[in-house]
Amino acid sequence: LKEPEINKAIKACQKSSNPKTFRHVYDFFSERVYYTCLRYLSAEADAQDALQETFVTAYTQIHKFKFNGPFGAWICRIAVNHCLQMLREQKKLIHLNEQDPVMEVVDEVADLNELEMRDQHVIQCLNLLPDGYKTILNLFVVEEYSHAQISKLLGIKESTSRSQLVRARKALKVLFTETSRTKAIVG
């Protein structure tokens, strides 16, 4: 189905609950939403759970969607909230309020312009980051949330959000440098 038809399906679902019609909506958005879940949750099983919760929530709350923006963005926000909820339950966001000594000792970071970074390489490095850093980068850079919004979502101070973002970027650069060096040696 194309986007106008999907919008029709969404409107039909808003009028009356119909799993068959909702299936079209699922087919259209599920891969994108699953990708979003995988950005936050490393384990596939967790991401599938979050995906399931997201679409069940979307099905029950679809009448609240007012077409003020794209449906994809709306459902991805639901997915992000579920992912954050799961991370909270798994207590993987605790270190956001703590110092991470590992990253402090590395001060020699290569100039990014000198590194040849492919998307796959970036994603690999992102996946190597602790969940807290990954979450901050996802929320700020990909979802484009402000620090105020992030602080509310994660229940942390705005200043913590800022400092964690700086540290996450730094950690990512360290990973870029290290993995590039390893590649160079191996290569």
Binding site: S17, P19, F22, R23, Y26, S30, E31, R32, Y34, Y35, T36, L38, R39, Q48, L51, Q52, F55, V56, Y59, T60, D111, L112, N113, M117, D119, Q120, V122, I123, L126, L137, V141, V142, R169, L172, K173
Partner: protein, 462 residues
């Protein structure tokens, strides 16, 4: 520094741009199952609300629904029952609606302290002609005429009404619970003709609320002595009763419709039984009909055995009781039958549910203190689950729970014996059809034979 920051952010954005990942097929199956469960729950949302509505509707009428039971021995003393309804306003405030001007408020303040005894004429509400003047032994008697309630000097509500200074619609006379209802035999008979409509009318019209007189006949006649009533005592039956019953439930359980864990389908039923406790609050619409809201707790068990063709990891064929023959085994598994072995399995299920329902009861027959009632009920589960308590012969996890939704329709007969106006004991028997929704194990809808014993308490006061 800023460049570096932008560079990192740019790399992340670029890496995730329009990212998609194929989703495993089973995720939709799980989602579909959950949204259908959700739809089922939504479909039954009205049931508890309806029950609550009925309960509230009945409760609202409780203070004024009182009656005097006509006892044969007292009939001789009182040739005609009298209808008296006293509205003693005492120091109560007579409230004026604030629709009027300020001067209306002034009037209200002036008359607040007045004491009146007002008899509210109700006959008009029934559509009868005016009937203000009655004989002293008639069905309506004024405790104190309105004209006598007029105090010296100060204008009363009555006088103001007569002078046209107050719009009658603006006067609300507080209705108090100090109402005594005595109904004439003639009128009682008239009212019996439309008892069903009265509760509805009462809910709509407060004036009818006062005038409604409930059914007044006891299921069985009792002598005054038997009830320890003095000659002038009256027994007031409220329309409310509470019923408690314990029933044995016999049913055929059908399980494993889609296989348990693994295995092929084999439709079988197993004789099973259980126990249910029912608590019902009933409201008598008339002497021959009552409606009720009931809650039920069901605890049922089912045990059955069957032969299973299994290998070390699972089983894939089973047969109800008996053993699988070698011929069957060779037919179904010609290639690898040596990998399988036959095992006798005993499974023990526990099925629990909490139900809420509505019922309607009709008096079919009455002979002395015995009465025969029919009862129709509709119920839906609030919570139900089916649990495997034990499995012998196979290594399967026990305590595996599965929730399911059900809806039941039942028809019953109750044979009751009335010990006294309050208590009766009854035997209960009937048949209940249950529809279970979307449960992979408990799929075939069971039909239950219900046999039990119960007691009912009718609320009365003297």
């Amino acid at each position: 520094m800023k460049d570096s920051r932008n560079k990192v952010d740019g790399l992340i954005k670029k890496a995730h741009e329009n990212g998609t990942t194929p989703v495993p097929d089973f995720v939709w199956d799980q989602i579909e199952e959950r949204i259908k469960e959700n739809d089922d729950k939504i479909a039954l949302w009205w049931l508890p609300i309806l029950g609550l509505f009925l309960a509230v509707m009945g409760l609202c009428s409780l203070p004024v629904n009182s009656m005097v039971n006509p006892n044969p021995s007292s009939i001789s003393q009182n040739q005609e029952y009298k209808k008296r309804k006293e509205h003693k306003l005492g120091n109560d405030k007579i409230q004026l609606e604030k629709r009027g001007s300020n001067s209306m408020d002034d009037r209200a303040s002036k008359i607040q302290a007045e004491t009146l005894i007002v008899v509210k004429e109700r006959e008009a509400t029934y559509g009868n002609k005016k009937n203000e003047k009655r004989e002293p032994n008639g069905s309506l008697e004024l405790i104190k005429p309105l004209s006598k309630a007029k105090s010296k000097g100060k204008p009363t509500v009555k006088s103001r009404l007569l002078e046209g200074k107050i719009n009658p619609k603006q006067v609300q006379l507080p209705i108090k619970s100090s109402i005594i209802s005595v109904v004439s035999e003639e009128r009682f008979n008239n009212e019996k003709q439309f008892p069903v409509y009265f509760p509805i009318a009462k809910a709509i019209s407060p004036s009818l609320l006062n005038s409604y007189v409930l059914e007044r006949a006891l299921p069985a006649q009792f002598e005054r002595k038997e009830l320890n009533l003095k000659p002038n005592d009256t027994l007031v039956l409220t329309p409310w009763s509470v019923l408690l019953s314990s029933n044995y439930v016999f049913f055929d359980l059908s399980v494993l419709n889609k296989g348990f864990r693994s295995g092929s389908l084999s439709n079988r039923t197993f004789k099973s039984m259980g126990l249910e406790q029912i608590l019902s609050v009933n409201y008598n619409l008339n002497p021959k009909m009552k409606i009720g809201v009931h809650g039920a707790l069901n605890v049922k068990n089912s045990q059955f055995d069957y032969a299973v063709l299994a290998n070390s990891q699972n089983f894939n064929q089973y047969k109800n009781k008996g053993t699988l023959s070698i011929a069957e085994l060779e037919t179904t598994h010609q290639e690898d039958c040596d990998l399988y072995y036959i095992e006798s399995v005993k499974m023990n299920y526990s099925i629990q549910s909490i139900n809420l329902g509505l019922n309607i009861q009709n008096l079919l027959l009455q002979k002395g203190k015995f009465s025969l009632w029919s009862r129709l009920e509709v119920s839906s589960n609030l919570k139900s689950n089916m649990r495997i308590r034990s499995v012998s012969g196979l290594e399967l996890p026990t305590n595996t729970k599965g929730n399911f939704n059900e809806m039941g329709l039942g028809a019953f007969g109750n044979l009751a014996y009335q010990f006294n106006p309050n208590w009766n004991l009854f035997l209960n028997g009937g048949y209940r059809g249950i529809n279970t929704f979307k449960h992979e194990v408990y799929t075939k809808n069971p039909r239950e034979l219900v046999l039990g014993l119960g007691i009912q308490y009718r609320i009365t006061h003297k």
